[in-house]
């Protein structure tokens, strides 16, 4: 471990500090929600809809209620008496509509897996046994499964009160796209389908809710990314004053955005605890995770790009449609999945005319919520596929075509045609860095030689953007109670060590390690003298938790400001003790030192001893303040991170299999706090993106049944097929913060999905074929090859 210890005055920020809190996880000492048991705890299992759409004519719970170990069986009507239905309508999006969602269905169900009854028993096994005995009298209703079908005026509305199945639509028009397309020298067009998939956190969703009727207090342990958000939801929906609700998020076994969503079954567990006045645990098993977890993507699109005779992009047209599932996701809407797609499209490029439209449909599938990347992979992939097609049509190398069409350095700050505000993007530097480490010219030479031998290798080079760390302008006007502010409390303990509480949460990203590095640097101490606590709504500053790659950008800035403020207080106290001025002192090596000479004046333990125990030795009126809190909320709507991915693949044109040969990333996430952890965020994100693009697909049949709701049927990337990934960093500090960090959590996934489209199409281009449908299954690749062959034969 070569990281500096802070004692020699070196900075921790920017170095490869291992995570102090990972050791216990490696030793099996993790404490995840399902590991926690409390006295008197009972377990809930849900009866879930076997149908995509059906009316509940009646429920007979008598046999279940009489089964071994059963405490009580609840129907939706009983739960809804204590838990208001969820209504998720964005106040700032005119025309958006969504039906009320009961946390346990009352009259009808609208997707397979929707809870219809809850069985509470002394063990999960007994609860599941009894759930099988609940008899529901169903009347099946016709399902609406396709996006186009749902958007058509003839589609029978899933909720008749809404009038139709159109959830929302939004258009962005910049310039005159139709006119510009008509005038373009080259126009390329492509159809896209991005299959619906699931987050598949390895630890499934889990909640343990404990209502104490004596104290009027609800204690909740929950596998979640934001204890603050859930405190607010429980407080409002169960009518409990907020200071009597405490949500703790212990170790969380993967979040990826899934666990920022609000799921009805988790809320039902809390409602049941309030009714029964005892602790209730719910842990989703894998099949219910597939059926009832918020899902993601599910887009179709057609897009065009126009280029002038000089090879400059002039115009893009992007028609997008997606499905929301049966309801708009509570409380964050999920509308960003479509909005971000049309906003992020074309963001790296200098063009004048743009038309983007997204339409969102209600279908009888699981609810689409938040997931890593939120719509941006769609915007980036659509753009980059068109860029490659246009470069081929213009007979310009795709790397040079990108360079030629990026925004000019003197154009910043700028607003892209889709509406992305960027203070800066280091596009050319990332392009050079990525093509440099991948040795792009050598790969092209090898590719040409191998094609002669019937080997089809593809080289993808793709640009991505990531809007990260959203500020209050984004959610504020929507009416959703989403905090974009984060806070940090830093406390000097009497022995001179430091405790830090933060409102950002860590599901393994390493955020808390970054916070520790930042605060330790401000206070001149090593990692061995600081501990960071998070994930407790009662004891930490209020904030947002983990979402939109904000941990370092916002939470890190709050930590820096808190650390700096505590340093001032420590130096003020030291100056009083030493009878000198605070300006002459600084902190380093765990000591108060003379700023000029570096001479040690006193150590932090002495500050703590006097500050807490020997105030009698201080001048009258001295008030040592050795604990401070600072918050940070950005002025910006978000910060745009960017980068370039390179991928090298081989497509077996006999079998349709894709073999990944190499992967390179040049990423600009602003100031890199910890390269060890940033690199692993990128690598993990890339592998998840590869999974999304090559394997993952939640498949429903025409009747609303999910076909692959097990890990044996739903394919995920395993170690054997995945590449090693080489990474280069470009650092452009964000302008409004003292720390300068930008988001990193989602960029790997966005870039990976995007570049795989490009790499596979690059392999297939000489055969006249191109992929249009994600995931790129062998079947799809063989189909597009066969279609290309048929076109050649005429």
């Amino acid at each position: 471990m070569s990281a500096p210890d802070g004692n020699g005055g070196e900075k921790l920020v920017g170095t490869r500090v291992p995570r102090p809190n990972v050791r216990r996880l490696i030793h099996g000492k993790g404490r995840y929600t399902d590991d926690i048991s409390v006295p008197g705890m009972v377990h809930v299992a849900f009866v879930r809809s076997p149908y995509g759409h059906a009316r509940i004519k009646g429920i007979d719970t008598s046999a279940a209620a009489a089964a071994d170990g059963v405490v009580r069986v609840f129907t939706g009507a009983e739960i809804s008496a204590v838990f208001e239905p969820l209504v998720s309508v964005a106040g700032h999006r005119p025309g958006h509509k969504s039906a009320p969602q009961h946390v346990v269905a009352v009259d009808k169900v609208s997707f397979q897996g929707e809870p219809v009854a809850a069985v509470v028993a002394d063990s999960r096994a007994n609860a599941e046994d009894a759930a099988d005995l609940v008899m529901v009298d169903w009347e099946e209703l016709p399902v609406v499964m396709g996006i186009e079908e749902a958007l058509s005026p003839d589609s029978p509305p899933i909720f008749p009160d809404l009038g139709d199945n159109v959830c929302f639509q939004h258009t962005v028009d910049t310039g005159d796209a139709a006119k510009a397309l008509a005038e373009a020298a080259i126009v390329v067009e492509h159809d896209f389908e991005f299959g619906r998939h699931s987050a598949v956190t390895l630890e499934s969703r889990s909640v343990l809710a404990d209502w104490d009727p004596v104290d009027g207090r609800l204690d909740v342990f929950q596998s979640h990314q934001s204890p603050y958000q859930m405190q607010d939801v429980y407080s409002r929906h169960l009518g409990i004053p907020e200071h009597k609700v405490r949500v703790t998020t212990p170790d969380v076994g993967g979040g990826f955005g899934l666990k920022i969503n609000v799921h009805g079954d988790e809320l039902a567990a809390a409602a049941i605890s309030k009714i029964l006045c005892r602790p209730v645990k719910f842990t989703a098993d894998r099949i219910e995770s597939f059926l009832a977890d918020c899902q993601t993507r599910d887009h179709i699109a057609t897009a065009k790009l126009g280029v002038d005779a000089d090879g400059r992009i002039t115009v893009m047209d992007f028609e997008n449609a997606m499905s929301a599932g049966a309801y708009t996701a509570y409380i964050r809407f999920g509308l960003a999945e479509g909005m971000m797609a049309i906003m992020s499209a074309a963001a790296p490029y200098s063009l004048s005319d743009y038309h983007g439209r997204t339409r969102v449909a209600y279908v009888n599938k699981g609810i689409v919520g938040m997931f890593r990347g939120v719509g941006v992979p769609i915007g980036c992939a659509v753009t980059e596929v068109l860029i490659d097609k246009a470069a081929a049509a213009a007979k310009i190398d795709p790397v040079e075509f990108r360079r030629k069409n990026y925004h000019r350095e003197d154009a910043y700050p700028l607003t892209s045609v889709g509406g992305y505000h960027a203070y800066h993007m280091s596009l050319e530097r990332c392009l050079d860095a990525c093509t440099g480490i991948m040795d792009y010219p050598a790969l092209r030479t090898e590719q040409a030689a191998l094609r002669e031998k019937g080997v089809y290798r593809g080289i993808g080079v793709a640009t991505f953007v990531e809007a990260a760390a959203f500020g209050p302008i984004y959610y504020g006007p929507s009416g959703a109670r989403v905090s974009t502010q984060d806070g940090c409390t830093v406390k000097l303990e009497p022995s001179g060590v430091v405790r830090c509480n933060t409102s950002v949460t860590d599901q393994g990203q390493g955020t808390l390690t970054g916070i520790a590095q930042i605060v330790a640097d401000e206070l001149g101490i090593g990692m061995d003298r600081i501990e960071v606590l998070a994930g407790d709504s009662a004891t930490t500053p209020y904030g947002g938790g983990a979402w939109a790659s904000r941990g370092m950008t916002i939470g890190g800035e709050a930590a820096l400001r808190a650390g700096r403020a505590l340093k001032e207080n420590i130096l003020d106290l030291a100056a009083t003790i030493l009878q000198t001025s605070a300006e002459t002192l600084t902190l380093a090596g765990g000591e108060v030192r003379d700023k000029e000479t570096g001479e040690a004046r006193m150590d932090l333990a002495e500050i703590g001893r006097i500050g807490y125990y020997r105030q009698d030795t201080l001048p009258p009126g001295t008030q040592p303040e050795l604990m401070v809190t600072r918050h940070f909320v950005p002025d910006a709507a978000y910060y745009v991170a960017n980068g370039v991915h390179g991928a090298h693949v081989e497509v077996d044109i006999e079998t349709g299999f894709v073999n990944i040969l190499g992967w390179w990333v040049a990423d600009d996430c602003g100031r890199v706090i910890n390269p060890l952890l940033v690199d692993e965020q990128i690598r993990g994100g890339v592998i998840q993106g590869i999974g999304n693009a090559l394997y993952e697909h939640t498949q429903y049949d025409a009747g609303g049944q999910m076909l692959n709701a097990t890990l044996a049927d739903y394919l995920l990337p395993m170690a054997g097929e995945m590449p090693d990934i080489r990474i280069a960093h470009v650092e452009t500090p964000v302008p409004d913060t003292q720390l300068g960090a930008n988001g990193i959590g989602e960029s790997g996934t966005i870039g990976a999905i995007t570049v795989l489209w490009c790499a596979i199409n690059d392999a297939l281009r000489p055969l006249g074929a191109e992929v249009t449908k994600q995931p790129f299954t062998p079947e799809h690749i063989l189909n597009v090859l066969a279609q290309a062959q048929a076109r050649v034969r005429g």
Binding site: M1, L25, Y32, I687, M718
Partner: protein, 163 residues
């Protein structure tokens, strides 16, 4: 309809070196027995299908899926979980390498991953990266991207071989 859910049987086995005798429901999986009856929560449940490997434990010297074996089948067996493996110090070097290389993020897959890697390392020699990837391909990690895990296993194997 009557549910005969809780028919039990008595089993005696060794868990992490200690003798254990318990009445267990005959339908209870080994990993549920370890987690619920013995409160050894280091072994995790990911899929209950034998696919993800989060529940991997050692039974009579072999890495097995705790969700594909019933507790009653472990009667008379020697079971080692991540808690026992950690305490023994057998893979302290591998666990250090995981920490330094950041080969764990959320940590949910990690106990199973360490169990599986321990089996490969115990076989001796220095496996190449493809062999390591192949051996770990029954353990799903949703966070890391695997490269850091492969690095940690490779570095440990090299260090043990004195290279």
């Amino acid at each position: 309809m009557t549910v005969m859910s809780e028919e039990t049987a008595q089993i005696s086995l060794t868990v992490n070196g200690e003798p254990v005798t318990r009445d267990v429901p005959v339908r209870r999986h080994l990993v549920d027995f370890l987690r619920l009856d013995l409160e050894l929560t280091g072994s995790h449940l990911g899929c209950e299908h034998g696919v993800c490997g989060a529940c991997t434990v050692r039974v009579d010297g072999v890495a097995v899926r705790g969700c594909l074996m019933l507790a009653v089948q472990a009667d008379g067996c020697d079971v080692v979980t991540i808690e026992g493996l950690s305490r023994s110090g057998e893979v302290a070097d591998l666990q250090d390498a995981f920490e330094v290389r950041n080969a764990a993020q959320c940590g949910y897959c990690t106990p199973g991953m360490v169990m599986t890697a321990a089996e490969l390392l115990a076989a001796g020699g220095v496996p190449d990266r493809a062999d390591i990837r192949d051996h770990l391909s029954g353990n799903l990690c949703r966070c890391t991207g695997y490269q850091a895990i492969v690095d940690a296993v490779e570095e440990t194997a090299k260090a043990r071989a004195g290279r």
